[in-house]
Symmetry: C2
Subunit: 377 residues, 2 copies
C-alpha cells in the first residue's frame, strides 16, 4: 500500500484487473476531494450522484460542491433508505435519471451511501448505454470494506430472492472517506467490523491477531482504523483479482455467510433483530464450531473467534437474537435453498483453524442439521 503524496494519511489499494484496474483510496477528507480525484481519472465531465434519504442531508451538498469545483456537472437522485430500494422499480427510475442527465460512457454514476445504494447504482452504471463509469463513495464501514470493492452489483428479485439480478461491473474509483464513519452508530460500526475480522479468519491469521490487539484503536478512529480498512480492502482485492466472476476461490468471502443468511432470512431481514454483519458474526462462530465438530479444527479456535467478537460487542450465538427463531429444520431449509443440495451434500466454507478457511463441497446436510439442533436456543 502506498501513501498518496498530497495527503499522507490517505492510503491507496490498487486493484490490478487489467483494463478494469482501479484504486481504492482510504482516509479522511476524501469527500471534499471527490471532484478532484474523479476529474484526474475520468475523461467525462458529467455525473449522476445516487444516494438515499439518510445520507443526502449529511454529505450530498459536499459532494456536489467538490464536483462543481472540479468542473463536473452533476444530477442528484435521492432514494428511500433500506433494502427494499434494491428493486426493479428503483432501477428503472435511476436508469431514467442517469439518461436524463445525459451521462455518456466516459461520464460517471456516483454511489454515495451504503451497500444498497452501491449495489443498485453499480447495476445502473453497468447497463445504461451498456456501461458507463462508476465511482463508489461508501458511507458505512460495511460498504467500505466489502460491498464497494469487487464489482458485484444488483437488485433483489421480489419473488425469488436477494441479489439474483445484476452484473459484474467494477468501479473506476472507490473513495472510502473514513471521516464519515464517525456518524455511524456503534451497532452499525460493529456490524461492519465483523467483515473486517472475516478477512483475518479467511487467510490472514496475523491480521486477526493484530485486530485482537488493536481493535480498540480501530473503533476509536485514526491511523489504526485506516490501516484496518486498507488491509480489508487489500484482502478483498486479492480474492477478486484471483477470481473476478466467482467461479471458485471467491466463495471464501462467504465465510460465516451461509449460517448468517439463514439467520437473516429467519428474522425476515428485520434490522431491529439482526443486521447483516451481526448474522455474519454469529455465522463465523458457527462455522468455526462446526469445523471443530467435523474434526477439522481445534475447538480452541472457535472459542478464540467467539471471544474476540464478543469483546467488540457483536452477538456470537443464536440465543442473543431478540425474539423467537424458527426451528432448526427451517434454518436448514433456508440453507439448502441458498446453497443447492446435491445428493445430500452442501458446499460450505469451513476452516482448519484461524486464517485457514477453505471451500468444502461435500458437507453432509444431515451433519449440519444435527449441529443446528444442538446450537438452537
Amino acid at each position: 500500500m502506498n501513501a498518496i503524496s498530497s495527503a499522507s494519511s490517505v492510503q491507496t489499494v490498487h486493484v490490478p484487473l487489467g483494463e478494469r484496474a482501479y484504486d481504492i483510496l482510504i482516509g479522511p477528507g476524501l469527500i471534499a476531494r471527490a471532484g478532484a480525484e474523479i476529474a484526474s481519472r475520468l475523461k467525462g465531465r458529467k455525473a449522476a450522484i445516487i444516494t438515499d434519504e439518510n445520507v443526502a442531508p449529511l454529505y450530498l451538498e459536499a459532494v456536489v460542491a467538490s464536483l462543481n469545483a472540479a468542473g463536473i456537472v452533476s444530477a442528484e437522485v435521492v432514494l428511500p433508505a433500506g433494502e427494499k430500494t434494491k428493486s426493479f422499480e428503483h432501477l428503472i427510475d435511476v436508469c431514467d435519471k442517469v439518461l436524463e442527465a445525459r451521462v455518456e460512457r466516459n461520464d460517471c454514476v456516483i454511489a454515495l451511501g451504503g451497500g444498497v445504494i452501491g449495489d443498485l447504482s453499480g447495476f445502473a452504471a453497468g447497463i445504461v448505454r451498456r456501461g458507463v463509469r462508476f465511482v463508489q463513495v461508501p458511507t458505512s464501514l460495511l460498504a467500505q470494506v466489502d460491498s464497494s470493492v469487487g464489482g458485484k452489483t444488483g437488485i433483489n428479485s421480489s419473488r425469488h430472492g436477494k441479489n439474483l439480478i445484476g452484473v459484474f461491473h467494477q468501479p473506476d474509483l472507490v473513495l472510502a472517506d473514513t471521516d464519515v464513519l464517525n456518524t455511524l452508530s456503534g451497532r452499525e460500526f460493529r456490524a461492519g467490523y465483523a467483515e473486517v475480522a472475516k478477512y483475518g479468519l479467511i487467510d490472514k491469521p496475523d491480521f486477526f491477531a493484530w485486530l485482537e490487539a488493536n481493535w480498540k484503536s480501530v473503533f476509536t478512529g485514526g491511523s489504526a482504523r485506516i490501516e484496518a480498512i486498507a488491509a480489508s480492502c487489500q484482502a478483498k482485492a486479492d480474492v477478486v483479482v484471483a477470481d473476478e466472476r466467482e467461479t471458485g476461490q471467491r466463495a471464501l468471502l462467504n465465510l460465516g455467510h451461509t449460517f448468517g443468511h439463514a439467520l437473516e432470512a429467519a428474522t425476515a431481514y428485520d434490522s431491529r433483530r439482526l443486521v447483516h454483519g451481526e448474522g455474519v458474526a454469529i455465522g463465523m462462530v458457527l462455522a468455526h464450531e462446526f469445523s471443530a465438530r467435523m474434526n477439522l479444527a481445534s475447538p480452541d479456535d472457535a472459542r478464540r473467534v467467539e471471544r474476540h467478537l464478543k469483546e467488540v460487542g457483536l452477538p456470537t450465538t443464536m440465543a442473543e437474537i431478540p425474539g423467537e427463531l424458527p426451528p432448526a429444520e427451517s434454518l436448514m431449509e433456508a440453507i439448502a435453498q441458498d446453497k443447492k443440495v446435491k445428493s445430500g451434500k452442501l458446499t460450505f466454507i469451513l476452516t482448519r483453524g484461524i486464517g485457514q478457511s477453505f471451500v468444502a463441497d461435500d458437507v453432509p446436510a444431515s451433519e449440519v442439521l444435527s449441529f443446528l439442533r444442538e446450537k438452537h436456543p
Copy 2:
C-alpha cells in the same frame, strides 16, 4: 471456415474471444440438432426458451423436442412480437420466468426469434444471477447475419430512445438454421440482405462483387445462401474480436445506419413504411453519395451500390418511402441527437470507395444538412 463432420453442409464460424469464445453454426436442420449441439457444449441441463407469438407456432415445438431428446429440461416464454417488447416490463417478466425455471449459471437462456427476441433474451441472460449461458437461434436473416453475433444486448428506454439499456453478453453458441429463412417474406429477406451487402461495402470489395454476381442464388437458397451468411458472420466476428466493446473500429458496422436510423425515426418505426434493413439500404446509398460529394469517393461507386441494392428489390432513395417525410432539418436533428455534435462536427461512417469505409469524426453538420436538403424528395 470449417465444414462440420456430421453435416457437411453446415458451416462453422468461430469467434475467438478468449474465455468468451463461441461458434456460429450455419446451415439446414440446425433446429432439430439444437439439443445435441447445446448438450455437447454446456454443462447445464436446464434451459429457458424465449420466443414470440409469430415464431412459437413455427419452431417452438421442434426446439423443445430436440432439447428433451438431449436430456435438457426447458421452460418456454412466449412474448408479443414487435419492437415494443424490448421494454423493462418484458425484461422483468423474462427474468422472473428464467429464475422460476431454476436456470443456474451453467444452464442457458435460448433466444428463438429475430433481433427483438435476441436482444431482450441476451440482456436477461446477462443479468440473471449476474450472467447465465446464452444460445441464439435466430429466425430472421437480419438476426442471423447481424444481431445474433457480437454480444450487444438490450432494451429501449421508453423516454430516451432505443437500445439505451443493456449489457455486452456474448452468446455461447449461435445456431443459424437456414431452413427457417424459407418462411420469411420476400421483403423480410431483402431487409436482411441489406446487412449482408453492408459487410462487402465496409471492407470486403471482393465479397460485394461476389454478391453482385451471385445474389440470385443467395435469394433462392442452397449453398450460396449459406456461403453468404457465413461470410457475413465471419466479417462481423472479425470486427467484434478487434473491438468487442465498441471503443473504435466496431463503429464501422454502422455504415448506412446514421441516415437509416434518422429515416426510421422519421417514419416513427412504422414497419409498414420502412423496416430497419430498408433504412440501412437507403442509408448506405446516401453514405456513398455523401462521400462522393465530399470528394472522398467516386460517384461511380455510389451508383454501383445503388444499382445492386435496387436490383435485389431494396429501396435506395428517400422518395421510395411511402407517406410524407419530415423536412431535412428534422432529419438532421434526429442525426444530431443520435450522434452528439461536437462544435458543429459529427462522427460518421464514410467511404473512399467500395469496401473502403472508415470512421470520420470531423464531418461538418452544415454539409450533411445541405446534402439532406438536396436529396429530400
